[in-house]
Amino acid sequence: MKFAVVVFPGSNCDHDVYYVLKKVLNQGTIFVWHQSTDLCGADAVILPGGFSYGDYLRSGAVARFSPIMKAVEAFARKGGLVLGICNGLQILLESGLLPGAMLRNRSLKFVCREVGLRVENAETPFTRCLRVGDRLRIPVAHADGNYTADEETLRRLEGEGQIVLRYCDEEGRTVPESNPNGSARNIAGICNAQRNVLGMMPHPERCSEVVLGNDSGRAIFSSMIESLAQAAH
């Protein structure tokens, strides 16, 4: 199994995902430089968090033109697994691989906090180790996580089961009080219609080890590994 972690100028969670995949979960993992034009035979691609190009202009706006993104788009079109975390999600939105856009958090401030997440769809390659209604605690850390899309898109996302994760409170209710950034319908993570591209604002790589006090993010990576193993059979 081979995971590719794409490194854009300004990526800063690249090493964090790499560490979880390689050292904690013992997966083959490589870094791929944004100037590269192929994915070196990877089975899955991670677009990590950070501030690609400083998030100047708009988060993700410049990175989507990196040479590697053509390869990522082709890989995704062929059904390859692509996970975008935080800035990774922003890049996926900018490049049109996922619908919608990000606005500044409603508070206008950066927010770093552990949030509750409700699993809304467990039939994706990223959530197969979970069940609908499961509640995860995963940290967010972003200034632009206020997801928006037009009503029709939101309805479609909802109808097609493309809303994978939502912000929720301790009882699992997706109420406004549990929403850290004002995102539409408490959306924390969405996938494409084919289910092979997932973007999420929370950082599962920051909570995949017991020593960090929380390993509930590991389920996302474990799901990907299981999906890949099954596909290989």
């Binding site: 708009r58 706006a61 856009a101 606005l103 500044r104 206020n146």
Partner: protein, 86 residues
């Protein structure tokens, strides 16, 4: 040659910054403020293109990079060319 680009959120898209600014202005005593829309303003120095050509090129720049047309509109002004909208 100097060009100006104005990027604003489409109507109907929530504008968290504009809302907060409007609220703070009213709190500062500017009660005449009904609404604020926050956008971007870019001044671009160009060389070696004629105004009308520049107009077209800027349109492309906005489509491609400067605006996110999912949520934003843009307007371009080039010295010596007609104004244009998205």
């Amino acid at each position: 040659m100097k060009a100006e680009v104005f990027v604003t959120l489409k109507s109907g898209v929530l504008d968290p910054q504009g809302k907060v600014i409007a609220r703070s202005l009213r709190a500062l005593g500017f009660e005449e403020v009904r609404d604020v829309h926050q956008g971007k303003y870019m001044v671009i120095d160009l060389e070696g293109v004629a105004p009308e050509e520049a107009r077209k090129r800027l349109d492309e720049m906005c489509q491609k990079l400067l605006a996110n047309t999912v949520i934003e509109n843009y307007r371009v002004r080039v010295e010596g060319a007609e104004e244009g909208n998205s």
